[in-house]
């Protein structure tokens, strides 16, 4: 038995203590809420976070700037591409790198797809915990189509590491237009179905309307951002307030709620998904098709290496399948071409001495990406709100300090206040609509 928690010490002798979580179906595996109950009524609550703490920030101090990118996949594991983006853009700000236009468009496309899948997951879990299992499966189905696009593009569904410092890793899949339009069509259908099922459902309204309401002032003082803040009526969206990438050239609205209750959080997310789909459509129009690769048979890498010894310049080199899309001809549109920022073209590594040296230097300890001394903060609009990275560099190839501003940490901080005085059942939609993601919350 560990020491008593605050609520255990302060509980009235006649009330019942109920330990919700960390192993509880609605606590998403990684949070614990101690409740002091008078029958069904919650007299007092204590939220305990930290069950998924794995030292992300400390780990990053021991990894090179290039290598720690994969750790950002595991932050908000529902929209890993936005985490990649946040980190990459912070580094670009620090390095003063501009990203090619094509890469910027691809980044917008990917982060909007991730945002839709993030909102879908949140609402699916929330409605399932309210008993609407059908809605859950509908939304999971739509998410599959979105993740198909991500899988086609990045090769992975969750651990993408696709958006890199200076650009993106590879070009889109040759058939990306078809898969994106399927995803948009299926998601729209699901959104329509779900709206029809629960938007006006009096049981759902009874569970969410007026439950877990927070005022604008309280939300701001807790540091809320994202859909949760917008549900109170404050139209703060990083994409509008501090436009990055090409968001200032695209047209989209920032839906806001009115009361800041669970239903508003639900409806803001529903409307935001529609806006994200609009953004995806706009970007798909703006994105030109990838330049075709030179015709002719491709040469195996080993043969290219042999040929280069005899000063023979080979034709196209067949890259390994996991490098597909990052051919040298395409890399110009995909990443900033600076040996101190991104991985050099693979073809050069195979065929030229300079290429081999720059490849070696890029991955060698103490070399590679070395930003100037100083600190920088940059934030993007994540699925849950403002996702910010604060990085202090001391001039070496590892960060001196890296801090993540996780949006849901601030949101969950208000949970105690929102459930106090309500019923046990109200914990579920309130907690569900906050979109707590363990990986991001506990870092």
């Amino acid at each position: 038995m560990g020491p008593l928690t605050r609520i255990q010490r302060e509980a009235r002798p006649e009330s019942m203590l109920l330990n919700m979580g960390p192993s509880h179906p609605a606590m998403h595996g990684t949070i614990r809420i101690m409740l002091e109950l008078d029958a069904e009524k919650i007299l007092n609550a204590e939220v305990e976070v930290g069950y998924l703490h794995r030292g992300f920030e400390k780990t990053c101090e021991n990894k090179t700037f290039f290598n720690l990118l994969i750790y950002t996949d595991r932050l908000n594991y529902v929209s890993p591409l936005i985490n990649n983006l946040g980190y990459a853009m912070t580094m670009e700000k620090m390095l003063g790198v501009t990203v090619p236009e094509r890469a910027q468009l691809i980044r917008v496309l990917m982060s909007e797809i991730s945002r839709v899948s993030d909102h879908l997951t949140c609402l699916a879990a929330m409605t399932m915990e309210c008993g609407a299992f059908t809605v859950f499966l509908y939304m999971m189905k739509a998410r599959e189509f979105l993740w198909d696009v991500i899988e086609f593009t990045a090769g992975a569904r969750m651990t993408t590491s696709y958006i890199r410092i200076g650009g993106v890793r590879a070009d889109l899949h040759p058939d990306w237009r078809a898969s994106v339009s399927t995803a948009i069509r299926e998601t729209r259908r699901v959104l329509q179905d779900v709206s029809g099922l629960i938007d006006q459902n009096s049981i759902f309204l009874g569970r969410t309307r007026g439950v877990g309401a927070i005022s604008k002032e309280d939300a701001l003082s807790f540091g809320w951002t994202g859909p949760c803040l917008r549900s109170t009526g404050i139209p703060y969206d990083v994409r509008k307030a501090h436009p990055y990438l090409v968001y200032d050239r695209l047209s989209f609205e920032v839906p806001v709620g009115e009361f800041g209750d669970n239903y508003d959080r639900y409806s803001v997310r529903m409307r935001e998904m529609e806006q994200s789909l609009r953004l995806i459509e706009q970007v798909a129009v703006l994105l030109p098709d990838a330049p075709p690769l030179p015709a002719g048979p491709a040469v195996e890498p080993a043969e290219a290496v042999r040929g280069s010894r005899r000063q023979r310049t080979p034709g196209r080199i067949r890259l390994s399948p996991n490098l597909e899309g990052s051919e040298k001809e395409r890399l110009d549109g995909l990443a900033a071409r600076s040996p101190s920022v991104g991985v050099p073209a693979k073809e050069d590594t195979y065929t030229s001495m300079e290429g081999l040296i720059s490849h070696f230097l890029f991955f060698m300890g103490g070399k590679g990406i070395r930003p100037p001394k100083g600190d920088v903060y940059f934030s993007v609009e994540g699925g849950n709100g403002e996702l910010g990275f604060y990085i202090v560099s001391d001039g070496t190839d590892r960060p001196y300090r890296l801090h993540l501003r996780a949006p849901c940490f601030h949101v969950v901080a208000a949970l105690e206040q929102l459930i106090k005085g309500r019923l046990i059942a109200d914990v579920i939609p309130t907690f569900g609509s906050m979109n707590m993601i363990g990986g991001e919350l506990d870092r």
Binding site: H24, E40, Y138, L197, I198, I203, I424
Partner: protein
Amino acid sequence: MFADVLIILVKVVLTLMWTLLLALFLTWVERKESAVMQDRIGANRASVFGLRLFGLFQPFADAIKMLFKEDFAPSFAQRTLHWLAPTFSFFFVAVTMVAVPFGDTVRLFGRRIPLQVVDLNAALLFVLAMLSLGIYGILVSGWASSNRFALIGSLRGAAQLISYEVALGLSLVGLVMVFPSLSLARIVEFQGGLLFGVLPKWGIFLQPLGFVVFYLAGMAETKRVPFDMPEGESEIIGFYTEYGGLKFGLFMFTDFLEVIVLSALATTLFFGGWQVPWLGDGGFAFPWGAGIKVAPWGVTVLRVLSFNLKVLFFCWLQILTRWTYPRFRYDQVMDLGWKVLVPLGAVNILATGLVLAAR
């Protein structure tokens, strides 16, 4: 004497078999129906000699799995009560089926055998009483588990079931006023007539409001979504938190039995039971004058079939509802019961009384 006992025994066994097999079948229906609603395929792997039959063997596979699981009770539980609770739940629901008439009478070996286990003259009260006793299963399970989640679940369950029994009882008073009997067999016989010479004289046409109250209260009695307060698996896990294996299986099975009992009661009380519209003992006599002659055995088969189809329809309807709606909150369920259904039931009695007095 011996023959009578034998007949009763056969009928008991047949009824029990029918109920249990239908409940097993319902688990399959629920899997498949929800799968169709949710764009899934549903369980289809269980097979016998490579024969899959759309997963129809799945319920048996489930049953075998439940049977062979460890009979587990937590060390802090009260073992006897922990063991007794699911049997209470199961028994009191299963026993209600004895009062339900499955069909008319059949003539076998010169005897007239009613297709009903026992024709109690206060069958309606018997059914309500048995459903009430079912609460003990929930209460005892929560208490014996010594688990706070289970305790909250069982208290919620007790409060909910007791509240809805009031509405359930009130909704049936109007019916008893219209069909002056408490025997289910008599009530079904009363529904054989015609209303205005066209409509079958079913309870639903005489007591539409009574049916709505009865059906909603009955749904609440089955403790399934949207009324699954005692379970509420994402809130309080439920009164069977500490149950596993066959004992959990019994609780789950009871849920399906309750669906069947509600369907059978709705059919018997409001949808003419085994009556087929315009089918008399000699054959069909349609209101526009036409008629079809049907042999006596054909009439019996049609009637039994009619009862089964109606029951299946209500089972289907309940599963449809279960997979469409989210869950109520505890206080909302209480509000619905006491502030809506109970007054509506009372209004229904008053209206029925006024109509009967005016006639």
